[in-house]
Structure formats: structure tokens, C-alpha cells
């Protein structure tokens, strides 16, 4: 079982601090999403974890050891970063190179080609592959060493809906079998579907870490439609709610229960035409977390 650990990880590029004391853990048997806006430090963190960059302070470890100290690292960690492919080399030969590097039998190449559905095009030059086929080849590349850890930067990019579903199923099984999955993605809806845990960073700092269900459950709201939206909005705001006018007659209310909103409407004599609770999607939770971080920093 391999836990990924970031301990006070700091990385600077000149005057710019890309990562500022990041401390977080990624547990085995779970899918952990790594979320943050562009330039927040996700890719830097992954590169530091994989020994491709050197931290200015702190340490990143895999099962207690830095990546560079692992024996046969690609047999322990499979990664999907922005690795390239030689355009004139066939997919099968690309994987053969990786199999030789990992010192695994050549039969493993056929297994992973089959796993990602590329057997029929294994002999074709990678230069002719579509983005989706390249993404599947990248996954096959990560799996050649039969690792227990997958580190993936934007694995859903370029995949069609069927490919996304296949990837999701595969990652779920990988984690359920005890593997560690650590993936970054900007497709928050996809993350909400796939991930068990989420680590959110902003400007190189940790914003939040924990189960995805905790993240999205904590910011639920009430959507209410009424003929007297202006008056109700003022009243609810006075009672401490955060009110957002989402349509002419519709308010999204945070900070009060559905019952409290209903009572307030009844007291005003406002006609309520619709009211329902809403679980915030990860996108708005993410935005709230980032806004909160901006406000407090």
C-alpha cells in the first residue's frame, strides 16, 4: 500500500512561489482529485512528487521514499503527465521501450494494449493517432510496469464520453483493488463522479483536503421561486442568509434552512411557487473555497 505524501513542499521559480508549504496525503484504495485553477501549482506538485523537479523546501514521498530513491520506479508508480511520443514510432514499440525500462516481460505490452483497446492499431505510427488514442496510449504507458500508484495530470482530456466512462470504470476498479489514484482535472463534474477525496490548492497553498462528499455537502442551499422576490430577498438577508437572485422570481439562499425560508415567505405573505433544496455542485464549492482563500489572504 503506497501513500503519497507532500510535507511542507515549497517550490519557487525566481520571484514566483509556485508552491508554498503544501502538506497533504493521498491514501491508497481511494481516488483523490487534485483541484485548483490554472497556475495554482498542481502540475508543479506532481512533477516534484515524480522527481522531475527539485523542491526548494519540504519533501514529497511515495510509500515513505522519494521517487528518485525507488528501485524500478515505473513498476511502483505509473504516471500520465505530458509525456510525448515519437511520432514515427509505433504504439507497440513505444510500449516495448517502456517495458524494457521497467524490466517487465514483453507480453505485458500486449496486455496493456488490450486493456486500453489499442491492440488493432498497435503497429501504427503514433503520429497518426487522435488525441483520444494518445490519451489511451498514455494510460497504457503508465500501466506497463503494473504499478500500485497512478499519478495522472488531466487524464480525461481528449476522451470522448465512452472513453471517459471507460477511464472512470478503470480507475474505480484500480482503487478498489487497493491502488492509489491521484489525478488532477479541471472537469469538476467528472471529478465529483469519480473521486473519493479532493485536495484543493490555490496559488500554491492548500485550501481544503478531505472526502468529496464533505466538500459538496457543506455548502447546500435553498432555491425558492416567489412572486415577491425583492421583499423576500431583503428579509432573508436581514436574517443572516446569503441571497443570490438567479432569475427574476427565483432566489438561491444559503445559510438558512428550507423551513426558515418558508416561514419568512409565509410571514411576508409572499406566494411561493417552487422551493427545493440544492446540493451545491463541486464547481460552485470550488469557487467558494477559492473566493474565501482570496478574501483571507
Amino acid at each position: 500500500m503506497s501513500t503519497l505524501s507532500f510535507q511542507s513542499l515549497t517550490k519557487r521559480y525566481g520571484e514566483v512561489t509556485a508552491l508554498d508549504g503544501l502538506t497533504a496525503e493521498v491514501a491508497p484504495g481511494r481516488i483523490t482529485a487534485f483541484l485548483g485553477a490554472n497556475g495554482s501549482g498542481k502540475t508543479t506538485s506532481m512533477r516534484l512528487l515524480l522527481g522531475l523537479s527539485r523542491p526548494d523546501a519540504g519533501i514529497a514521498t511515495i510509500g515513505g521514499a522519494p521517487y528518485v530513491d525507488l528501485k524500478h520506479p515505473t513498476r511502483k508508480v505509473g504516471s500520465v503527465l505530458d509525456q510525448g511520443f515519437h511520432p514515427n514510432r509505433s504504439a507497440r514499440n513505444h510500449l516495448r521501450v517502456l517495458a524494457m525500462q521497467a524490466e517487465v516481460p514483453p507480453t505485458r505490452v500486449e496486455e496493456v494494449l488490450d486493456l486500453v483497446g489499442l491492440t488493432s492499431v498497435g503497429g501504427r505510427r503514433v503520429g497518426g493517432f487522435s488525441l483520444g488514442m494518445r490519451q489511451r496510449l498514455a494510460l497504457a504507458s503508465a500501466l506497463v510496469g503494473d504499478p500500485a500508484v497512478l499519478v495522472m495530470d488531466e487524464p480525461f482530456n481528449g476522451l470522448d464520453p465512452a472513453g471517459i466512462a471507460t477511464m472512470r470504470t478503470f480507475l474505480r476498479k484500480f482503487a478498489d483493488d487497493g491502488g492509489t489514484v491521484f489525478l488532477s482535472s479541471h472537469l469538476l463534474a467528472e471529478v465529483a463522479h469519480s473521486a473519493d477525496d479532493a485536495i484543493v490548492i490555490h496559488r500554491g497553498r492548500l485550501v481544503s483536503a478531505g472526502p468529496v462528499s464533505d466538500l459538496s455537502g457543506g455548502a447546500a442551499g435553498v432555491v425558492v421561486s416567489t412572486t415577491d422576490a425583492d421583499l423576500l430577498a431583503v428579509t432573508l438577508a436581514r436574517r443572516g442568509a446569503t441571497v443570490e437572485r438567479t432569475r427574476a422570481e427565483t432566489l438561491t439562499v444559503r445559510g438558512l434552512t428550507r423551513e426558515a425560508v418558508g416561514r419568512a415567505a409565509a410571514e411576508l405573505g409572499a406566494v411561493v411557487t417552487d422551493m427545493h433544496g440544492v446540493e451545491d455542485d463541486l464547481e460552485s464549492v470550488f469557487a467558494d473555497l477559492i473566493n474565501h482563500q482570496e478574501a483571507t489572504s
Binding site: 512533477r47 515524480l50 522527481g51 522531475l52 523537479s53 521517487y67 528518485v68 520506479p73 515505473t74 504516471s79 503527465l81 505530458d82 509525456q83 510525448g84 511520443f85 515519437h86 511520432p87 514515427n88 514510432r89 509505433s90 514499440n93 516495448r96 521501450v97 517502456l98 524494457m100 525500462q101 521497467a102 524490466e103 504507458s141
Partner: protein
């Protein structure tokens, strides 16, 4: 290390670069031999079978060495160009070992390629000379063969080292050509010949000259100088470039 060299050889075998470089070297060699022999004795050319004529026929080191230089550059900087270096360093995080494996691979391919192309040159030239009544070549063929082989291997090493230093195939190739043609041959050799013989192109000339070595390094010294240059550039690359962040 043997495993890493085998991987580099496999990488070479599975892209067209090796075959293009060898094919080009073969083609240029055949063309050079045929034209030099069939045009011998024409106005402005040396007589057939003379030292100058035979030296020209066997002077294929220029072709093989530059083919191998470019192949060496592609072996190292080509990985950065196609971003396959990321996979390579993820599998072998000790980047210095990867560089050494690439140097050994280029040395090996250069040795075999240089020897085989020279052998082809000889295999075409000897029967043609014989058919034209020249049965003895007035140069030390074995010394030239060894020199061409060493030169090709050394330029392979230089190519890998230059590629590792620049991490850019185009910059490395253009830089190497400008250095050889302009800085060394056009400027330093005429002005400072005693200095120029210690530089890569000067040492290369010493390895492929058929007869008079006066004012030049001996073939053995020239080979050592070339290996030294490759080692120096590779060392600088390992100290500076390989420690940089991967792009």
C-alpha cells in the same frame, strides 16, 4: 548500463533516423567513389590511382562523421524535441546514467557504421580500380579504415554531448556546422594552425589524412583529443543542462 544501452539501441532501431543516416552515408559514399574514379584524369582532377585520387576515394570520414554527429544529436536532443525524455527520466531518474548510455550507444553505432561504410567504399573502389588496371593502392588502407572508424565513433559521442548540452536538435546541428565550417576551418586553421589541430575538426582531419601528418596530430592522439572533447562537452552538459528542470 548494458540494459540502458540496449534500450537506446532499440529506440534507434524503431525510428527512421538510423536508417536515413546510414542510407544517406551509403548513397554519398557510392556517388563519391564512382565520380572520383570515373572522372579521374579529367582536367582539374588527380590521375587515376595516384595518392591524391585514392585518398579522395577513401576520404569518406567527412560523410560518416557528420551523419553520425547528426544521429548523436537526435539520440539525445531528439528526446527533448518529442518530449520522450520525460518517460526516460521517470524510468531512470539518474540522468547521468542515461547520458552515459547514449554516449556508449553512439560510440558503438559510430564504430560499426564507420567501419561498414568504409568497407563498402573499399568493396566498390578496389574492383573498379582493378578493372582500370590499378592493382595497388598507394596509401595505408588499414590506417585510414581505423581512422574513419574512430572518427565516426567520436563524432557520434560529440553529437550526443552537443544534443545533451543544447537540448535542441536544430540549434545543435546548426551550431556544430557553424563551428566546424566557419570558426575552425575558415578562421582558426588559417590563422592559428597550431591551436586548430587540437580542436575537433582539426583532430578529425588528422584521422583521415592518408599520407603526410606533418603539422598534424598523430591518428592516435587525434582520436584521444576527440574523445576528450566529447567527454568535456558531456561533462558540462551533465553539470548544467541535465540538472535543469525538464520542460
Amino acid at each position: 548500463m548494458i540494459r540502458l544501452v540496449r534500450i537506446e539501441l532499440f529506440k534507434l532501431r524503431t525510428t527512421p533516423a538510423l536508417f536515413v543516416a546510414l542510407g544517406l552515408a551509403f548513397l554519398l559514399t557510392v556517388t563519391s567513389v564512382l565520380t572520383t574514379i570515373f572522372l579521374a584524369g579529367q582536367p582539374g582532377t588527380a590521375p587515376l590511382g595516384s595518392v591524391e585520387n585514392v585518398s579522395h576515394v577513401l576520404a569518406i570520414g567527412v560523410v560518416t562523421s557528420f551523419s553520425m554527429l547528426i544521429l548523436g544529436i537526435m539520440l539525445s536532443a531528439g528526446e527533448d524535441r518529442h518530449r520522450t525524455s520525460l518517460s526516460t527520466y521517470l524510468a531512470e531518474p539518474r540522468r547521468g546514467r542515461v547520458l552515459v548510455a547514449k554516449l556508449l550507444t553512439a560510440g558503438l553505432v559510430g564504430t560499426v557504421g564507420g567501419a561498414v561504410v568504409f568497407g563498402l567504399d573499399l568493396a566498390i573502389a578496389v574492383p573498379l580500380y582493378a578493372a582500370k588496371g590499378v592493382h595497388h593502392l598507394p596509401v595505408d588502407v588499414m590506417t585510414l579504415w581505423t581512422g574513419t572508424t574512430l572518427l565516426t565513433a567520436c563524432f557520434g559521442l560529440l553529437g550526443v554531448a552537443l544534443g545533451a548540452l543544447t537540448r535542441n536538435t536544430v540549434a545543435a546541428i546548426i551550431g556544430a556546422l557553424v563551428w566546424a565550417a566557419v570558426i575552425e576551418l575558415a578562421v582558426l586553421q588559417p590563422l592559428f594552425p597550431s591551436l586548430a589541430k587540437w580542436l575537433p575538426t582539426g583532430a578529425a582531419v588528422s584521422l583521415t589524412v592518408a599520407t603526410d601528418h606533418s603539422g598534424m596530430l598523430s591518428p592516435a592522439a587525434a582520436a584521444l583529443v576527440l574523445v576528450g572533447w566529447a567527454a568535456a562537452v558531456a561533462l558540462v552538459a551533465s553539470r548544467i543542462t541535465l540538472r535543469r528542470e525538464l520542460r
